[in-house]
């Protein structure tokens, strides 16, 4: 009898001891899930953000790459994590696509948005001996459909979609330039330089080193107006008279129903992170587009992106 009472007391003590701990979030290391492989653009930004966020929160942040399935694995894991603030993730463009393509029921409503920190426009790249401008590329493709092949990501990935959207906007069937699915940008670039395919669609920072090396030439950027970081690259509209633009984006989010105080703590920390000189110098060194939006604006951005990408996918005939 005495023993049970003691046990109850002990349990109660344990309970009361553990409650206030919640208030001082974070009290242990945080896991940041990256749905893409180490070495890619998303991974690089995630590691930078993680290390700076670590300074703000005072607890280690472990970057975990959960790759595969065109990012679905990682995104699913973020969405399914316990909403306690100890598992967060980087969510990317592909989230705006999955449910339209029918590859996963996931959409932005499965997450608690924390901050948008980057947007990058898609671009069209060829070998130096390839078509001299976008107009010529499209003309060649129209002349001999299927002769020029393109790559840059898996089927239904943002680069694929950007390409399909471009072809669609140019009044061409999407299989005029067949898409060669690969596991990311590195094998796609390898295919381009080894003369196995003719076009690579991706964001400019991903190919910057190859462009500097003279192995790759960027024909056009899919933006409404020129990117101040790349003033020499024409927009699609300037290069070929086609009205088409599409941007990739990256942001930090947690699973749905993150406690409001945790979300606020994270959002406030992110607001400081994007102002840090380390973040700015990293982003500009790697030529990533700096575009910050706080939790509320990010939510709005996601809803808007979802709608725009949906329209694009349907137009390209990829919607399920």
């Amino acid at each position: 009898m005495k023993l049970t009472r003691r046990l109850v007391l002990a349990a109660a003590a344990v309970f009361t001891l553990s409650t206030p701990v919640l208030a001082q979030y974070p009290e242990r290391p945080i896991t940041l899930i990256v749905p893409w492989a180490a070495g890619g653009g998303t991974d690089a930004t995630a590691r930078t953000v993680a290390s700076l966020l670590e300074q703000e929160l005072g607890k280690p942040i472990n970057v975990v790459n959960r790759t595969g399935g065109g990012g679905i694995i990682g995104h699913t894991e973020i969405a399914n994590a316990k909403p306690d603030g100890y598992t967060l993730g980087v969510i990317t463009t592909e989230l705006s696509l999955y449910h339209w393509l029918g590859t996963s029921p996931l959409d932005y409503k499965n997450y608690t948005p924390i901050a948008l920190y980057n947007t990058d426009a898609q671009s069209i790249n060829v070998r130096p001996d390839g078509p001299k401008d976008l107009k010529e590329l499209l003309a060649r493709a129209k002349e001999k459909p299927g002769s020029l092949k393109a790559s840059g990501a898996n089927r239904g990935g943002a680069p694929h979609l950007a390409m399909a959207g471009l072809l669609n906007a140019s009044q061409m069937p999407v299989d005029t330039v067949p898409w060669v699915p690969t596991d990311g940008i590195t094998p796609a670039l390898q295919l381009l330089t080894s003369n196995a395919i003719a076009v690579v669609g991706t964001t400019i920072p991903e190919v910057q080193a190859m462009v500097d090396a003279g192995e790759v030439r960027t024909l056009a950027i899919m933006r409404a107006e020129r990117d101040p970081s790349f003033p020499n690259v024409p927009t699609v509209k300037e290069a070929a008279g086609v009205d088409w633009y599409l941007s990739s984006w990256r942001g930090i989010a947690g699973p749905k129903d993150l406690p409001a105080d945790v979300a606020k703590r994270l959002s406030d920390a992110m607001a400081k992170v994007v102002e840090k000189p380390e973040f700015k110098s990293f982003m500009s060194a790697r030529k990533f587009g700096m575009d910050y939006a706080d939790a509320q604006k990010f939510a709005k951005f996601l809803a808007d992106a979802d709608e725009r990408f949906g329209t694009a996918i349907k137009a390209a005939g990829l919607a399920k």
Partner: protein
């Protein structure tokens, strides 16, 4: 010459020297813990590099990787837990040596050959990086497909248990690689509705299970779980026992270094394939091939050299074109960018001194490996004198933590257990384990490059022979396959005719 002198000046900085030393020790520590990988060691270094100058940060990564990979051989050899897919090629060989009491010798000779291979790779990197990188860029999916074929063939051909057992093992590995979301089409395969399996079977937990847990199960069922793990280890002086061995197998060191450097330059699974191919060539050209698989150092020396030579090789495409070959160089490229050093051919002109300083760090890190590694080996060999039940308990602890740490998920502990039981059953049936590892590593490479190539060639098989390098590799693969095929057919004939006489004698 001017740049070389400048580079010397850069690395003479005490901060750089101290960083190299500390990073080496850190790499050694992480690498020697069973289940932790060089990638993890490198990733952990990244936040620290924010406070270093550019050269120190790269020096830290280079030194840490080199020691972590070499230290990864220690648990593989002593306790049968390979640190990397590459070292899985010779884990069983070194473990057999440990059982004979020659563990320190196995590790020592692999250490020395690793250092030689690493130095060779670093020198090649210094002399010919830009042109080599350009060659690597000529490899398309067609060439990669054939390379994956060569790597896989090696595992089956080298299997000490016979071709059929090796092939079965390889097929199991390839099947495991199929599990999860198919990259090309996005359709889930063999996931049985599990979201955890969508990402595929995690490699490290599977490897820990197949080697370490199956060994544990084996000792429990054999009734050997309370006996000494291995004979007392004979520790010879490095100049006494190791160097004569290395000079005896100098051909292997040379061949391993060259093949390792060449294959390591290719972005992708270069380093892993190299270790397997060289283990096979060592056996193929050995005077005593029957000794392979029983604790013979020859293959270990060749594959060890290739392993570290390939390590430098992986930096070539990373530095010249910003195309990282593996997870470690991928992290390094990120750090380079952070420090305002943009990989690319212009790096050689604009920051030549800096670049050559990095190359020199390669040399220094490899030389530093010798004393640090030797010290670690001597210290680690003492572990085997711990009574076996306690040793196994602590081993189990590290297996569990290592499996968990790779993706921070409990599911992977289950993966470890399942694969431990599977591998135990397979080895009881005479099927080797090592080829499964290679199957898992190369499966995606093989399949993705095949399907990608087929899409490019509009379904024409001839395209696999149309490009010059692909053609040569393709013909080589077909020749390689025809050897056992022809001998198998001959054997089948012999067996058919031999059936009756057997019955007579039986």
């Amino acid at each position: 010459m001017q740049t070389l002198l400048e580079a010397f000046g850069l690395i003479a900085d005490p901060q750089v020297v101290v960083t190299v030393l500390l990073a080496s020790i850190f790499g050694l520590f992480v690498g020697a813990i069973p289940g932790l990988t060089a990638t993890m060691a490198t990733a952990l270094l990244v936040p620290m590099t924010f406070f270093m100058d550019p050269l120190s940060s790269i020096a830290a990564i280079v030194a840490c990787t080199a020691t972590a990979i070499t230290a990864g051989d220690i648990p593989g050899c002593l306790l049968r837990i390979p640190g990397t897919p590459a070292s899985a090629a010779y884990t069983d060989e070194t473990f057999m040596m440990t059982k004979k009491g020659l563990g320190a010798q196995a590790l020592g000779s692999s250490l020395v050959s690793s250092v030689i291979g690493g130095l060779f790779g670093a020198v090649v990197l210094m002399v010919a990086a830009p042109s080599l990188a350009r060659v690597a860029l000529n490899f398309s999916s067609f060439e990669y497909f054939w390379l994956a074929c060569i790597g896989l063939s090696c595992a089956a051909l080298v299997s000490a248990s016979g071709l059929v057992a090796g092939l079965l093992s390889l097929l199991i590995g390839l099947l495991i690689a199929c599990v999860g979301m198919d990259v090309i089409s996005g359709s889930p395969r063999f996931t049985f509705g599990s979201v955890q399996l969508m990402g595929g079977v995690s490699f490290v937990p599977a490897m820990i299970g197949m080697f370490a847990i199956s060994e544990l199960l084996d000792s429990l069922l054999n009734g050997t779980a309370r006996q000494r793990f291995a004979k007392p280890q004979k520790i010879t002086g490095i100049f006494h026992g190791i160097l004569p061995l290395i000079s005896k197998y100098r051909r292997n060191v040379a061949r391993g270094s060259i093949i390792g450097t060449i294959i390591g330059i290719l972005p992708g699974a270069g380093g892993d394939i190299a270790a397997w191919i060289t283990y096979t060539t060592a056996r193929r050209f050995s005077k005593e091939p029957q000794k392979f698989g029983t604790g013979h150092p020859e293959g270990v020396i060749e594959a060890g050299a290739a392993n570290n030579a390939g390590l430098s090789g992986a930096w070539v495409p990373a530095l010249v074109f910003g195309v990282p070959g593996d997870a470690v160089t991928a992290i390094a490229v990120g750090v380079l960018f952070m420090k305002g050093i943009n990989p690319g051919p212009r790096l050689f002109e604009t920051q030549g001194a800096m670049l050559y300083a990095v190359f020199m760090i390669f040399l220094i890190a490899n030389i530093a490996l010798l004393p640090i590694g030797w010290f670690a080996i001597r210290a680690a060999s003492k572990i085997l004198s711990v009574p076996r039940p306690q040793l196994m308990a602590v081993l189990l602890l590290f297996c569990i933590v290592g499996s968990f740490a790779i993706n921070n998920t409990v599911f992977d502990i289950g993966v470890m257990l399942v694969f431990g039981v599977l591998a135990f059953a397979l080895s009881k049936a005479g099927i080797p384990i090592a080829p499964i590892i290679l199957g898992i590593v190369l499966g995606p490479l093989l399949e993705q490059n095949f399907l990608t190539s087929m899409t490019i060639a509009d379904g024409s098989v001839i395209a696999f022979f149309e490009r010059p390098i692909a053609g040569i590799l393709g013909v080589f693969v077909l020749l390689l396959w025809s050897i056992p095929l022809v001998s198998a057919i001959l054997q089948l004939f012999r067996l058919m005719f031999a059936t009756k006489p057997v019955k007579l004698t039986g």
